[in-house]
């Protein structure tokens, strides 16, 4: 069991315990907690939190911290992409500490790796970027790529999947531009919150140019994280529709709206 699973099941146990408690407070909070994931009705030890809730918070924080700092394992992602050719690259940020303080380096390719990228007449390249949660990438990236490629129109020319380490979103611009791919779909581990350490984001950019393309030129799907967040099939459907829309419009970003249906696509990344 991972720490986050432990924290979740601990929370479930607490709620059960509360609902069985004889006093009215426990019953009240057990019912109110069904309406929000906020940590309400925690009770008190003097002015402070009860021990159980203090430790639950620490477990959730540990899971989020581990998600930020646990190393990216490109081999694990490659193993789940059997039959797909992959290329591994690193950004210009040499290590995690530098990566966290120098977003500019995380947006540029390491020059050695740039030379190894193949070029070709591709319609789309998928980039798997560790971002701020390699856990999210390990759990969800391969499944997202499989679900998306399965829905692409036949004849779509898909480049080898690029697995990128110490990577921020704009690294996809550099990769797609170097490979001469028309569009890039970058799957990235999102900034972990304490209630979600494994959330994957997908960024679509049409004909990106490093240093020219801005965040306003991208379309984003956030919180891909089944079963609690967006599921793969829904996300893949939206991505394929956005890819088609971008090709038709000749660009991506604010001018391209997701019209595939239901819920709004919200990007809350800073």
């Amino acid at each position: 069991m991972t720490i986050s699973q432990a924290a979740r099941s601990q929370t479930a146990r607490s709620q059960t315990a509360d609902s069985q408690a004889p006093d009215g407070q426990g019953e009240l909070w057990a019912s109110l907690r069904l309406r929000t994931q906020a940590r309400i009705g925690l009770g008190r030890a003097g002015s402070a939190l009860p021990t159980r809730h203090r430790l639950e918070l620490q477990a959730a924080h540990a899971a989020a911290r581990d998600a930020v700092h646990s190393p990216f394992d490109p081999d694990a992602v490659a193993a789940r992409l059997t039959g797909t050719s992959v290329v591994r690259v690193r950004s210009a940020a040499p290590d995690r500490l530098t990566y966290l303080q120098r977003p500019d380096l995380g947006r540029r390719l390491n020059p050695v790796d740039r030379a190894h990228l193949p070029t070709g007449e591709w319609d789309v390249v998928f980039v798997v970027a560790d971002g701020l949660s390699s856990q999210a990438v390990h759990e969800h990236a391969a499944a997202m790529i499989r679900a998306t490629t399965a829905r692409l129109p036949s004849g779509t020319r898909v480049a080898p999947v690029v697995l990128a380490e110490q990577a921020r979103v704009a690294l996809g611009d550099d990769i797609a531009h170097t490979m001469a791919a028309t569009a890039v779909v970058l799957l990235v581990g999102e900034r972990p919150g304490m209630s979600a350490a494994d959330s994957l984001g997908a960024y679509l950019t049409h004909r990106p140019v490093p240093g020219v393309t801005t965040d306003a030129d991208r379309n984003c799907l956030s919180n891909i994280r089944p079963p609690l967040g967006l599921d793969y099939e829904t996300a893949a459907g939206k991505l394929v529709a956005l890819l088609a829309g971008a090709r038709e419009l000749g660009r991506s970003g604010v001018a391209l709206k997701d019209e595939s249906g239901d819920e709004a696509v919200v990007d809350r990344r800073p």
Binding site: L32, R35, A38, I40, R44, L100, Q101, L132, M194, V266
Partner: protein, 478 residues
């Protein structure tokens, strides 16, 4: 040219401009390094401080960091500078100002009179010569009192913002979190929600929910749904129950433009909010949030260091006599403030500069999970800022905001701070807590057990189609 020099350990250091000097004198932080403005090493940093200590305060009036012609914040600062208020310190250097601020000559009355005579750049400069304890000592002497339905900033008081955010703005979820905060004695500074969307309809629904609860339980506090200022103006025109107008602001015209605001827009919103006359004990109607790194993040810092450009945002804030200003100190991430040590330092600087410039400064003492910080850093910051006399702090359920995905102080943390420092809530709110049986005999918050409290009726607010909000709306119209 306006070059500044100093000699340290036999080596001569030269700083080409006041902006370069201020940046090099700043304590180490990741944002200044990212911007290419930080001192190259520790010796250069100290050399910059030696040079900065010798700079006459009048230099800040004659050598603007960002040209007067290019930037409306510079124009605001220089056009509103009060020479009479400045007179007592006009002949001083930055180093002399530090010593005077720390001396007994600078008491609460003197410092209040000085505020309109200081520019943000002077405040930022002197803060760079101060240690953390200096920043506490001086800020503690400054008193800034503001009021709407509660009074903020009185000696011996600490107010809190109750922040019942929800990822989908679900009224039932918000109401549950609101009840939790009130039962823990929180909410006297403001009940403030960060909405998940900026749609006027969603914002209005939340405003009516909060207005209904405040009206039904006669809570002496104010609500705020933190939307864009243009949304607030629109909603006020349509008669929505807006108590405080909120806006995020920054220290340059270009950074404010990246937030979609101008001084003209803020003027318009301020006048509209004043005209509503919804306050009962005061007329401070604005709520501003700031935070180091926003100008750099927007590519709009003009080569000015992160902390100095933050202090310039306070010049924008003080134009509108706000009820509340808080720095969201650790929110943006480690590329601006790397760890607990850098966040603490920035929190003390922001609080000091804001208070010195005459603002009711509070803090969102917080961090993101990719910064090197934890709940012990929150406790350390809370304690130092409580001693420093912060007007208010932001509190979330369990310190975990499920909408913005960051960690902040909790309602329990506020109880801790009030207990160990003997601080009390805003007087009107304290009397209300007493009237509903939540104040314990020692002045703390009574711990409920076994029984439910009448306030638990709030929990039905979101599930019955906001009836409370609509009823209050009708009463106001009648």
């Amino acid at each position: 040219m306006s070059a500044y020099t100093s000699t340290l350990g036999g080596e001569r250091y030269r700083f080409d401009s006041l902006a370069r000097l201020l940046a090099a004198a700043s304590p180490e932080r990741s944002g200044d390094r990212l911007a290419g403005l930080a001192a190259q090493d520790a010796r250069q940093r100290v050399a910059a401080r030696w040079a900065l200590a010798e700079v006459p305060l009048t230099d800040f009036l004659t050598r603007p960091l960002i040209p007067y012609e290019d930037d409306d914040v510079t124009r605001l600062v220089l056009d509103t500078h009060d020479p009479a208020a400045f007179a007592p310190v006009a002949s001083m250097t930055v180093g002399e100002l530090r010593e005077w601020l720390l001396s007994e000559a600078a008491d609460a009355v003197t410092l209040a009179a000085l505020a309109p005579g200081l520019t943000p750049e002077m405040a930022a400069a002197v803060s760079k010569l101060m240690g953390n304890a200096d920043l506490v000592t001086v800020a503690r002497k400054v008193r800034v009192v503001t009021a709407f339905r509660s009074t903020i900033g009185l000696p011996g008081r600490l107010a809190t913002r109750l922040q019942p955010n929800h990822p989908t703005d679900d009224p039932a979820g918000v109401a549950a979190a609101l009840l939790d905060g009130l039962l823990l004695g929180s909410g006297d500074a403001v009940i403030g929600i960060n909405p998940a969307t900026d749609s006027p309809k969603a914002v209005r629904d939340l405003l009516e929910l909060l207005d209904g609860v405040i009206g039904r339980y006669a809570i002496p506090t104010q609500s705020c749904v933190l939307c864009h200022v243009t949304t607030s103006v629109d909603l006020m025109e349509r008669g929505a129950p807006v108590d405080l107008v909120f806006q995020s602001i920054a220290g340059t015209q270009a950074a404010n433009a990246s937030f979609g605001v101008t001084l003209g827009l803020l003027d318009e919103a301020y006048e509209a909010a004043l005209a509503l006359e919804r306050g009962t004990v005061g007329r401070n109607v604005m709520y501003f949030e700031t935070g180091q790194g926003s100008a750099l993040s927007a590519g709009a810092h003009h080569g000015v260091d992160q902390q100095t450009v933050e202090a310039r945002a306070y010049a924008v804030a003080r134009r509108y006599d706000p009820l509340l200003v808080n720095t969201v100190v650790g929110f943006i991430g480690p590329e601006y403030l790397y760890d607990g040590r850098q966040i603490l330092r920035a929190a003390l600087e922001d609080h000091f500069c804001g208070k010195l410039l005459g603002l009711p400064m509070g803090l969102d003492i917080c961090y993101t999970n990719h910064a090197d910080a934890d709940d012990d850093d929150i406790a350390t910051m809370l304690t130092m800022l409580g001693v420093a006399g912060a007007s208010f702090v932001i509190c979330t359920p369990g310190g975990d905001d499920i909408m913005l995905n960051y960690q902040s102080a909790s309602y329990h943390d506020a109880l801790y701070l009030r207990e160990v420092l003997g601080l009390r809530p805003a007087p009107e709110f304290e009397a209300w807590l007493d009237s509903i049986g939540l104040l314990d005999p020692r002045g703390g918050i009574r711990e409920l057990s076994g029984t439910t409290h009448p306030l638990t009726g709030i929990a039905t607010t979101g599930t019955d189609g906001h009836t409370a909000g609509r009823a209050t709306g009708r009463e106001l119209a009648a």
